[in-house]
């Protein structure tokens, strides 16, 4: 099994390397909105002293951490797989004795992350030099605690994305469905603003959704802002959502494949 992932890694790395220019553009595009928000909120916080108790440094460290967390937990399954389902090229993957999503799609995702870091790191260093953040609150302990949240954050996001992508077995408009959920993610994950700036109602709803587990929770853990009780509760949430989404994905995929007609040819 390990050999499969190893070979998939080699293949995916080689393939994606061919499209590095593309990837560069795509990654730079992804950096735009966090950088804009970073600039806007720091300016506001600087002029007022703080916003709802958050200082300029809180915003800077939040968005700089977000840039990295976002890259680590993001998922691009829909871009890898939806077309393959719709134009029937998935057939080739389905003939092989390995789950296409849990092997090649997963590795594609990870290879993409690895390559994106090549773009992200220089940009990140430049931003650090520009904004001079104080990361004094980050400790080895907080970094260590964040590792499982990053892994599970990605796992949950991946299963969520894979489930949405499986809807392509039923509808050709799976991108619209994904757009809708993308909006929910923006609202409830802490991607645009730290969740504590959101209205209380949204914060409450966010507690019951998996989206804050992709971004807000790992960021806050890295930045050492959560109480041990909250962290414990969040860890349970990761496990619960992982199991729930895994079961939903498995069911959707199985039912979807029954509808797959390997169109064309």
């Amino acid at each position: 099994m390990i050999k499969i992932y190893q070979r998939l890694w080699q293949v995916n790395w080689a393939e994606q390397w061919q499209y590095r220019a593309n990837l560069l553009m795509y990654s730079l595009y992804g950096l735009v909105s966090p950088v804009v928000y970073l600039a806007v909120w720091t300016t506001i916080a600087n002029s007022q002293g703080s916003v709802s108790g958050l200082t300029a440094n809180d915003f800077i460290t939040y968005y700089l951490t977000l840039l990295i967390v976002d890259q680590l937990t993001s998922d691009i399954t829909i871009h890898i797989l939806a077309n393959k389902i719709q134009d029937g090229t998935l057939a080739g993957d389905l003939l092989r004795p390995a789950h296409p999503v849990l092997t090649s799609t997963l590795v594609y995702n990870i290879a993409f992350k690895a390559l994106s870091f090549i773009v992200l790191i220089p940009v990140w260093i430049i931003l650090v030099l520009l904004f001079q953040p104080n990361f004094g609150m980050v400790t080895p302990g907080s970094l260590l605690l964040s590792i499982p949240t990053l892994l599970f954050g990605f796992a949950i996001n991946f299963l969520f994305g894979a489930t949405l992508t499986s809807l392509a077995f039923w509808t050709t408009r799976v991108y619209s469905v994904s757009e809708f959920f993308g909006a929910l993610v923006v609202l409830f994950s802490g991607q645009f603003v730290p969740l504590q700036l959101m209205p209380p109602a949204i914060q409450t709803v966010a507690q019951y959704l998996p989206f804050q587990l992709f971004k807000f929770v790992p960021i806050e853990i890295i930045l050492n802002k959560l109480s041990p009780e909250t962290i414990a509760r969040d860890f349970v949430a990761y496990l619960v959502w992982f199991v729930i989404l895994f079961l939903i994905f498995r069911w959707t995929w199985r039912e979807g494949i029954k509808r797959f007609s390997a169109v064309g040819a």
Partner: protein
């Protein structure tokens, strides 16, 4: 039941959305879609023994590919049963996938951006092929298909014929016991066709694999398959030997004569003239098989004949008649 492939009343019905052209229909279709049932395969039954090479024939849209896709576990049937090596294909069990292959001539399973040899290594891992077996099989495939010069180039840079070769090899590295080949020679030139054909023959001989193949090239069928299955509009039309089909459908021979003097003689008193087949100055008449001896004797005594041949009707026309029956 020791058939390798057992198909019982297999059917597949697709629901296809359809609408008229034009704006009004487009708007209407948005709110209320009309569906039409397309019966791609209807109650098809057959059995294939281990080691058989069977030609699966039919005009475009006959249901050949759909049947192959059902047998390889890609498509769920609407009704009916199938067993391949004792497995229900659409359960897609590892042991089943590990032992069969589906090669589609018009569709690539290899990654376009990397050389085929990289994809082979990936297949080795996925199919859990031990190193020694992998090397040996690859060497054998290389001998048969001459892969060395082409498997290190990115697949997108290969010609159609080269691509088909690396594609076939990719489908066979795990030494499948059952091969479903959908148009394996499509679009290839004669030399490449012959190579692929010889290869399939050789693979079948060496490994005893069972092969079910579709092709529009009759040469593939005559060279490879003793038995053929014909389907038309989703229904089974014929299942038996190629020779038997010719005897049943076309109990006649073609008698060709080259005449000494260039006379456009009227041969219609001997049989039905076949003007479409005239070549090299030869004229052909179609004669009932039972009368061939008598008629050729008469022709030889009546006409100034240089050369005379007795041929079977071309298999294309036999099969075309089978479709129409």
């Amino acid at each position: 039941m020791n058939d390798t492939i057992h198909v019982d009343q297999l059917s597949k019905t697709y629901q296809v959305a359809e609408r008229e052209g034009g704006f009004k229909a487009a708007v209407g279709g948005f709110f209320r879609r009309k569906y039409r049932d397309v019966h791609a395969v209807q109650q098809v039954s057959f059995n294939i023994q281990p080691g058989e090479v069977v030609g699966f024939l039919g005009p475009n849209g006959a249901g050949k590919t759909t049947t192959l896709k059902m047998l390889s576990g890609l498509v769920y049937p609407t009704s009916g049963k199938a067993q391949v090596m004792g497995f229900n294909p659409w359960e897609r069990r590892t042991d089943f996938l590990q032992n069969m292959t589906l090669v589609m001539g018009q569709r690539s399973r290899l990654s376009w951006d990397i050389p085929a040899s990289d994809s082979y290594l990936l297949n080795q891992a996925i199919y859990r092929i031990p190193d020694a077996d992998f090397k040996q099989t690859l060497k054998e495939l290389d001998d048969l298909l001459d892969l060395s010069p082409i498997m290190r180039k990115p697949v997108r840079n290969l010609s159609l014929g080269e691509r088909m070769k690396v594609e076939l090899a990719a489908g066979l590295l795990h030494r499948p016991k059952v091969l479903f080949l959908d148009e394996p020679t499509i679009g290839l030139d004669i030399t490449a066709q012959v190579r692929i054909r010889t290869f399939i023959q050789e693979y079948n001989r060496r490994t005893g694999a069972t092969v079910l193949l579709t092709s529009h090239y009759m040469a593939d069928v005559t060279a490879l398959c003793e038995r053929i299955i014909i389907i038309h509009l989703g229904r089974l039309k014929y299942d038996g030997s190629l020779n038997e089909l010719s005897r049943r459908i076309a109990p006649f021979k073609l008698v060709g004569v080259a005449l000494g003097s260039p006379c456009p003689c009227d041969l219609s008193s001997y049989g039905t003239p076949v003007p479409s087949k005239e070549d090299g100055g030869k004229q052909y008449v179609q004669v009932a098989a039972s009368e061939v001896a008598a008629i050729t004797a008469r022709m030889l005594s009546d006409l100034p004949i240089h050369d005379l041949t007795i041929e079977d009707p071309p298999i294309e026309s036999v099969i075309e008649r089978a479709f129409l029956e």
